[in-house]
């Protein structure tokens, strides 16, 4: 049969915020075996299960909207996939939904974050007309105006909800927002991921 495509939406919270993208990949590989899900392997000299994550999350950030794609070698019920994965996962990596992918991962262009400061915060630096930071890009570290990459934000007490560029060509790490605001003790939660048509599906 043709391998069945699966998209899984899951959370990554609490202690798991400190687990890197690479380690998450290794973890999911063993999770698939524990869950008894026949993930389609790559062909070639060193076959391995092919699992693709939609949008890497930086270490120290939590998320309620992580996505991973894989294919199964036999047809399975999506609810069964979700249940099997949850039985094999720690609660901090709970699966919310498994479904047939709609959008392409490459279509992702925005991500929404909630940044909460443990102490009173001053959000006024964000209203400047340009915000230049020393930013890592493909060409190395260069001074960049990130203001155009902050598409929207709203403040609620000591929290801010911000929608940031998240396309491969233009990606803004939410840590820069915490940096601009000079926050020292804070949490970052990714809440939603979007394509140009709406929430990523």
């Amino acid at each position: 049969m043709v391998p069945m495509p699966v998209r899984v939406k899951f959370i990554k919270i609490d202690e798991l915020q400190f687990i890197s993208h690479l380690d998450l990949g290794r973890t999911m590989k063993s999770v698939m075996i524990r869950a008894g899900i026949p993930v389609h392997y790559t062909e070639g000299f060193n076959p391995h299960p092919k699992i693709v994550f939609a949008l890497p999350l930086s270490v120290g950030a939590e998320s309620v909207c992580e996505y991973m794609d894989f294919r199964t070698d036999r047809e399975m019920d999506y609810t069964e996939i979700k249940d099997r994965l949850n039985a094999a996962l720690p609660p901090q990596l709970r699966v919310l939904e498994a479904y047939e992918p709609v959008d392409e991962v490459s279509e992702i262009c925005l991500a929404e974050y909630r940044i909460t400061s443990d102490t009173p915060a001053d959000f006024s630096p964000l209203s400047a007309s340009t915000i230049v930071v020393h930013k890592r890009t493909k060409k190395g570290y260069i001074d960049t105006d990130i203001k155009p990459m902050i598409k929207y934000y709203s403040v609620d007490g000591d929290s801010i909800t911000a929608v940031l560029s998240a396309s491969p060509a233009e990606f803004l790490n939410p840590e820069y927002i915490a940096g601009i605001l000079s926050l020292t003790n804070y949490t970052i939660l990714r809440t939603r991921v979007f394509t140009s048509r709406g929430e990523f599906r």
Binding site: F18, D23, R26, S30, P90
Partner: protein, 617 residues
């Protein structure tokens, strides 16, 4: 997770070392348990998580519903600094509660160079270092593992040691504690006195050690009549029915042995005269292929690991190795699970085995001739000859390999420069062998890496009385080998540092007087001695000097055959008479056959157990 801990995790290397939250970690309701144990591995998380013994004991302790056993590891220095700054004491991995509040803090002592970390972890936990300074309000500090066979250098810091295999012993210890607490009669003093009566527990404070004028031990005297004169190690009787952890705590970050470790048997039939594990793990007790196959399947399904290592001191000596590998391969290949066999002996390396096992198919090949000449190999009872090695290397080369790693030791008893030259000679012969083969790998040259470590005399071995070579002698031998290898471009030579081996030798054969040196070392900031970037020989020499201890007394002295040894308080099964017989055979260049060939009367069968080769008593 505690906010303070979360904060500092943002600024340390590899925070995954400290987070906990792994799949299959055991969480219990604090209100429903009667005793909490912090099982500590005095090195980094990556090393500690790879230890099979910890995995087993974590399981056995938690199998008691009244007990919650958690894990703790030595934080790396960046984390330690942040914890000290923030006033966060050493915490347990699962609950993040300070281990200071636990009922027991257990340390596994895997190597002597971890002792400085034990002290540092106790201090970081806010627990007084010396047993005598801890009242009933502090946890009971227990040690175990290979180094507990001579625990004297750390005796002052521990309340008790579990000698031998801890599978059932540790649970008995905790039950004794719970019983006394329930009856309201717990005092640390009474508890330790009762604990000393449980087989396999050594309570150092209940023994008085007398010394002779020359600094050697005169006698061990139990303080009470009902305390055993010798502590006999505990063993698991039947490996097939013994506890085995069906689920493993799954680390997120990569650990040293990030795979299923399938323990095939305990003990060793060989009797290499330098090897402590080969003596202290006796008698040989095997699991059946049926049990092992069941356990492997179970672990595969419950962990999701796609690699299985068969573990034993010398895996090819397992009496049913072919049956086992066939059974495992009947399903592992199909499921894309890799099977690897470490510790292959030269004389058992066959083309057939090589075809079967992934680690051998894909990785390099390693053999351990240990010594360069037949004379010295006979002295150490490493029963392999040059032709065995050549045959094994031919097999490897003909299968397309061109790189071979060879392990040796220098500083072995009776060793001469001729034996050192033998190492160079043997490695050259391996290279020459490569070129004699018509079907050698095309367009390749042989690569032989020789790795030479320093001999360290260890308790409970036939070489326990021997002196370690001085650092100068070891360096001369290393230089001589380098010169003997001059111009041999296909041979790469790596060697172990003589400094660390000397400190290890001091503690391996040390007595209680060394507790003072450890305290001083801790005061000087010594820790993580097993790590090159931390180890400082100068600081160690300073520590010894500051407390008037001569390291040569322990490392470089031939111990008298009639001397009371610091570890004579322990009975590990193998008798002193046997070790002495073996020592004398070594000096006569006589080898001793393996247990499979015939019984040499080591004495370990006195311990009972369902042994594989031992004659019944």
């Amino acid at each position: 997770m505690d906010g303070e801990i979360r904060k500092i995790l943002r600024s340390v290397l590899k925070p995954g070392r400290y987070t906990g939250g792994e799949y299959a970690q055991i969480i219990k309701d604090k209100k429903k348990i009667k005793a909490r144990v912090a099982f500590c591995f005095p090195d980094t998380y990556e090393i500690g998580m790879s230890n099979l013994g910890v995995r087993i004991l974590y399981g056995t302790l938690n199998a008691d519903e009244d007990v919650w056993c958690e894990r703790a590891y030595a934080p790396w220095d960046d984390m330690e600094e942040k914890m000290r700054q923030a006033g966060i004491p050493l915490f347990a991995h699962e609950s993040h509660d300070p281990i200071r509040c636990f009922d027991f803090v257990a340390f596994t002592l895997q190597y002597e160079l971890c002792y400085s970390n034990v002290l540092n972890m106790l201090e970081l936990a806010g627990i007084p270092l010396l047993s005598s300074e801890r009242d009933d309000g502090f946890p009971v500090i227990v040690g175990g593992g290979p180094c507990a066979y001579n625990a004297e250098p750390v005796a002052d810091f521990f309340d008790a040691f579990s000698i031998g295999e801890g599978e059932t012993a540790l649970n008995e210890m905790v039950r004794l504690y719970i019983g006394m607490k329930d009856r309201g009669v717990y005092t640390k003093k009474d508890f330790l006195r009762e604990l000393a009566k449980i087989p396999g527990f050594y309570v150092p404070s209940l023994y008085d050690v007398g010394y002779n004028d020359d600094g050697t031990i005169n006698c061990f005297t139990p303080l009470y009549d009902d305390i055993p004169k010798k502590v006999v190690k505990r063993i698991v009787d039947d490996m097939d029915s013994s506890y085995f952890p069906e689920r493993l705590v799954m680390p997120y970050i990569e650990t040293v042995h990030d795979r299923i470790v399938l323990e095939v048997y305990r003990g060793c039939i060989r009797g290499c005269r330098f090897c402590q594990a080969g003596m202290t793990f006796r008698p040989v007790r095997e699991k059946s292929p049926e049990t092992l196959d069941f356990q492997a399947r179970c672990l595969y399904e419950n962990t999701g690991y796609d690699e299985i290592t068969l573990s034993a001191l010398s895996i090819s000596d397992y009496s049913r190795i072919d049956e086992l590998t066939d059974r495992l391969l009947s399903w592992t290949n199909e499921k894309k699970v890799n099977l690897s066999l470490p510790s292959l002996r030269i004389d058992s390396f066959t083309h057939e085995l090589m075809e079967k096992v992934t680690s051998v198919r894909t990785g390099g090949i390693t053999f351990a001739p240990e010594a360069g000449t037949q004379r010295l190999r006979d002295v150490i009872n490493k029963n392999v000859c040059e032709e065995d090695l050549m045959r094994a290397c031919r097999t490897a080369f003909e299968a397309g390999k061109y790189s071979v790693k060879l392990y040796f030791m220098d500083g072995l008893p009776t060793e001469t420069f001729e034996d050192i030259e033998g190492i160079a000679g043997l490695s050259s012969a391996v290279c020459r062998e490569f070129y004699t083969l018509e079907n050698r790998p095309k367009g390749k040259s042989p690569q032989v890496t020789i790795s030479v470590s320093c001999f360290i005399p260890k308790p409970f071995t036939p070489f326990q009385w021997e002196a370690q070579n001085s650092i100068e002698t070891i360096r001369e031998k290393q230089k001589h080998l380098r010169e003997s290898l001059n111009g041999k471009k296909h041979i790469k030579y790596t060697w172990h540092d003589a400094d660390t081996s000397r400190v290890e030798a001091v503690f391996a054969r040390g007595n209680r007087k060394l507790s003072a040196a450890l305290l001083e070392a801790h005061r000087l900031g010594i820790k993580f001695d097993a790590w090159d970037e931390h180890f400082s020989y100068e600081k160690w020499m300073q520590a010894f000097e500051n407390c008037g201890i001569d390291p040569a007394f322990y490392a470089n002295r031939v111990y008298g055959e009639d001397e009371v040894l610091p570890w004579d308080i322990i009975d590990c099964g193998v008798t002193k008479e046997f070790l002495l017989r073996e020592r004398h055979r070594a000096y006569n260049g006589k080898t001793t056959p393996s247990c499979r060939e015939h019984c040499s009367g080591c004495g370990a069968n006195r311990l009972g157990g369902k042994t594989t080769w031992c004659p019944c008593l």
